[in-house]
Each structure stands twice: as structure tokens, then as C-alpha cells.
């Protein structure tokens, strides 16, 4: 029985250590940068006898997730990890996992998609998979990766939820950066996360059929049932986060506020950019600029009501997406925030700032430029552009 201690872990190692303490029955994975460290550590834990799990080295990510689907259908606590092209290769099976309502936890070390070939961080992978029915949780640092990996098993396996969860952290920025992580003792994790109790496990004594044909006369009813469950999971996720906070002295929420008192404009961030943005906000607050920060942790299901509440009363909001949805209005987060606010009588102007593509650094100066733009929009009460790319040389962009 280990006591609570602070370990030097990078984001990937924090995920692996948390998974080990969550005692999965089955891990099926295929290594891909920048997630590789996770499955390397987990295979070490299994080989060294520290973790009693079936470790399946699959021949592809499609097979890895397929194996997870089978394992979870049997009632096993199931885990995988991937990134970028690996997640893209899983795409078909992502829908199957969520539609079967199978709890599976998957770490994603967010990485850009080809082409050009790029191993560095952006969120093209998970944002591109936003409509596949998985819960998506985004983390800022290794501590959050650790804490939310544990919570993700609770969320996924909760009988009010029963959905797979992607627990995301930015590639390299978080996955390969070593930080002090306060870990829980094994017994604390055990008390928070009891063994899984499956609802309809595959069992020869009590046979069930999973994955049968859904004819047009039944498909919409089955899909709407899934939609209701996904929307309702927001409440359960909040409850589980509150329980975790109270049990272990943390202070998490699905939308976190930073320096929002008296703020007239705000940055809305997701993932590791939030840390840099906080420094920028501190700097600007010291100069008297009325700017605050909102960090979105839960992107699927999107906490629409909470977003409306958090953004109401502001004059302008800059949404920092770490990807582009080509040919629309910047990133998905920008578009969805705008859609969520559209029917509010008093709503802020919302401008998108896709930033940090393919591992380009997002720096404090970027957030200062974004905030200056937001203050101009607020002052003139006019929005002239839906979005502007940040960290790109050339006309129309906010420079490197």
C-alpha cells in the first residue's frame, strides 16, 4: 500500500501511472508518437508483474480498438491510447464503441494529422472525431492528466453514463514535459474507483446480441436514446468531479474560471495553452486590462448551458482552437461557442483564433495581441472577422 507522494512524471507517464492504479483487465494498443510512452510504461508494469492485465499488442489501431470493444463487451475494465493517424485509423470503430455504450478509456496525446508529416501537437485528431459519440476531456498539464485518467474510468463505467471517454493531453507540451505530480495512494484510488459492474456482459449463460441490424423503423429510437444519455452525462460528470475534489483536495470543474471578476473580455482556451494564457492574463491585469480566462475541460458533451452562463455579461470572447475545420469559421470550438450563444439576448462578440498548429508555440505575446483585438471589438461593438489564424507568417494572420 503506497502513500500519497509527488512523482516526477511527464504527461504520458502520469497517464500510465494512473491507469496502473485503476487496474484495467485489458489494455490493447499500438504505439504512436507522442503517446508511445504510455503503452511502453504499461507494458513494463505488466511484464514486471506490477499490473495484472492482459496486454494485447495489436497490429493496428483499428485492431486495438476492436479488441477493446470485445473486451469491454465481456465486462472487462478496458484501456487504450493513441494519437493522430492512429485515432484516424480507429475512426470506424469509435462509433461502434460509443453506440454499443461500452466504457473504454482512451488517452490521446493530441498530435497534428498528415500532410505535411508532423508529429507535433495540435488537436486535429480528437476535434475531427468530435461527432463519434465519445466523451472528450481535455487536460492542461500532467497533474490533470493523472487526475482525469482516474476519473474517466468512473465516468465511463457509471451506469448513468456507459460511454467511452477520450482523455486528451497535448502532445510533447504535456506528454513529454516532466512535472511534479501528486499521486494518490493505491487504496485511495481503489476507494474512488470500485471494480466495474457490467450491465449486459457477454455471457454464455445469459446470451445477448450486441451490434445487430437497426432498420429504419428502429435506428432513430436507438440513436436518440444514445443522444439523451450523452447529454445527461454532463450532470454525472460534474458529480464525479465534485466527489474527486472533495475526496482528494482538488478544485476542478468542467469550465474553469481564471481572473474573471470584472472581466469585460475573455480568452476561452482548451488544453495546455491555458497555462500560457494565464500568464498573459496576469500580465495584462497588472496593466489594468479587463481580461479573464475560461478553460473548457469538457468538449463532449458540450456543456452548453454552462458556457452560456460563463460567457454572459462579457463584451467579447476570443476562442483559442488548436486546429482548423477547413472552409468554415476557424475551429470547432469557436463555431460551437458561437452557436451556443446565438439565441442569447445579450451576447458577447465571439472571434475564433486557431493557434499553435502542428506544434507551433503559442506564446504570451499571442494572447496579448488577441486580447488587444478583443478590446478593440468590445470598444467598437463590431466584429469584422469570424476568425484569424494565430502563429502563421503572412497576410491575414497574427504573426509567429
Amino acid at each position: 500500500m503506497m502513500a500519497r507522494k509527488v512523482l516526477a512524471l511527464n504527461g504520458d507517464e502520469a497517464a500510465a501511472y494512473a491507469v496502473k492504479q485503476c487496474k484495467p483487465d485489458v489494455i490493447a494498443a499500438y504505439p504512436i508518437t507522442p503517446q508511445t510512452i504510455i503503452v511502453e510504461r504499461l507494458s513494463d508494469f505488466v511484464a514486471d508483474g506490477e499490473l495484472d492485465a492482459e496486454f494485447i499488442s495489436a497490429e493496428s489501431e483499428h485492431s486495438a480498438l476492436s479488441a477493446c470493444i470485445g473486451a469491454s463487451a465481456m465486462g472487462a475494465r478496458t484501456y487504450t491510447a493513441t494519437a493522430s493517424q492512429g485515432l484516424a485509423l480507429m475512426y470506424e470503430m469509435l462509433f461502434v464503441a460509443s453506440s454499443f455504450r461500452l466504457p473504454i478509456v482512451m488517452s490521446v496525446a493530441n498530435r497534428a494529422l498528415n500532410s505535411p508529416l508532423n508529429i507535433w501537437n495540435d488537436m486535429s485528431d480528437t476535434m475531427g472525431a468530435r461527432d463519434c459519440g465519445w466523451i472528450q476531456i481535455y487536460n492542461e498539464n500532467a497533474q490533470e492528466v493523472y487526475d482525469f485518467t482516474i476519473q474517466s474510468f468512473r465516468i465511463a463505467e457509471d451506469h448513468r453514463v456507459l460511454l467511452p471517454v477520450m482523455v486528451c493531453h497535448d502532445g510533447f507540451v504535456v506528454s513529454h514535459s516532466t512535472e511534479g505530480v501528486e499521486t494518490l495512494s493505491d487504496s485511495e484510488v481503489d476507494s474512488f474507483l470500485p471494480p466495474r459492474t457490467p450491465v449486459y456482459p457477454l455471457d454464455v449463460e445469459n446470451p445477448v446480441t450486441i451490434g445487430c441490424v437497426g432498420v429504419p423503423e428502429y435506428y432513430p429510437e436507438i440513436k436518440y436514446q444514445q443522444e439523451v444519455a450523452t447529454k445527461k452525462s454532463i450532470q454525472t460528470i460534474k458529480e464525479i468531479i465534485n466527489e474527486f475534489n472533495e475526496s482528494f483536495g482538488r478544485n476542478y470543474d468542467i469550465i474553469e474560471k481564471y481572473q474573471m471578476d470584472g472581466a469585460e473580455v475573455a480568452l476561452l482556451t482548451i488544453g495546455s495553452a491555458s497555462g500560457t494564457a494565464k500568464d498573459a492574463v496576469d500580465e495584462m491585469r497588472a496593466e489594468g486590462k479587463p481580461v479573464g480566462l475560461l478553460k473548457l475541460r469538457l468538449f463532449r458533451p458540450l456543456p452548453v448551458e454552462d458556457l452560456r452562463k460563463a460567457l454572459s455579461g462579457l463584451k467579447a470572447v476570443g476562442v483559442i482552437d488548436r486546429h482548423i475545420s477547413f472552409g468554415s469559421m476557424g475551429g470547432a470550438l469557436n463555431m460551437e461557442v458561437r452557436a451556443a450563444l446565438y439565441e442569447m439576448r445579450e451576447r458577447p462578440h465571439v472571434m475564433g483564433f486557431p493557434a499553435g498548429l502542428g506544434g507551433r508555440d503559442i506564446r504570451v505575446e499571442h494572447f496579448i495581441k488577441i486580447t488587444e483585438e478583443l478590446l478593440r471589438i468590445a470598444e467598437r461593438d463590431v466584429l469584422e472577422e469570424d476568425y484569424r489564424v494565430v502563429g502563421c507568417r503572412g497576410p491575414g494572420c497574427i504573426g509567429p
Binding site: 453506440s99 454499443f100 446470451p207 432513430p220
Partner: protein, 93 residues
């Protein structure tokens, strides 16, 4: 028909072996096989070839299970003694 609240969890089928209750006979669009029992030699080729198990084998004769027969016509095609003919549903009625 069941509402989204009434359909089983995630569309699971919780009752084993219930495919039998699915009326695939509804799929027949125009023709159905009819057996002339006088010509039938009980060779059972139709029973072997039927892809849907819709030929029922009795003590000394075969019968067609129209609840499941999709009307594909394979039995009539394979019957060596011409005992099975495809007839239009209208003609039968």
C-alpha cells in the same frame, strides 16, 4: 412500435434465438414457391439449398415455411423433378 425509452439499451437483443420471430416472409415481392407433393421425390435438395432454412422437413414430405421464405426461387431452380414452381402471389391468392 417502441419509443426511444422503450427500445432495449443500445439496441441490444436480450432474448436469445429470437431471429426466428422475424417475419422475413414479408420480403417476398412477387413470387412464392409452391410444392406439388405428387411430383416430390423427397430428395431434400430444396431443404439443403434453401439459404433461409424455410423448407421444413416432415416425416415423409417437405413444406415451405412462408413466414420466413423470401421468395428467392433457389428451391424451384434446384428441384430435379420439377415439383417446385414459382407462382405469383396474386395467382395463389
Amino acid at each position: 412500435m417502441k419509443t426511444w425509452e422503450e427500445v432495449p439499451f443500445a439496441g441490444y437483443i436480450l432474448e436469445p434465438g429470437n431471429a426466428e420471430s422475424y417475419r422475413t416472409g414479408d420480403w417476398r415481392s412477387r413470387q412464392k414457391p409452391v410444392i406439388n407433393q405428387e411430383k416430390c421425390t423427397f430428395c431434400l435438395l430444396c431443404w439443403i439449398y434453401c439459404p433461409d432454412g424455410a423448407i421444413t422437413r416432415r416425416e415423409s414430405k417437405v413444406e415451405i415455411d412462408y413466414y420466413h421464405c423470401k421468395g428467392c426461387g433457389i428451391c424451384a431452380y434446384e428441384c430435379p423433378s420439377g415439383a417446385i414452381r414459382m407462382k405469383s402471389e396474386a395467382e395463389e391468392a
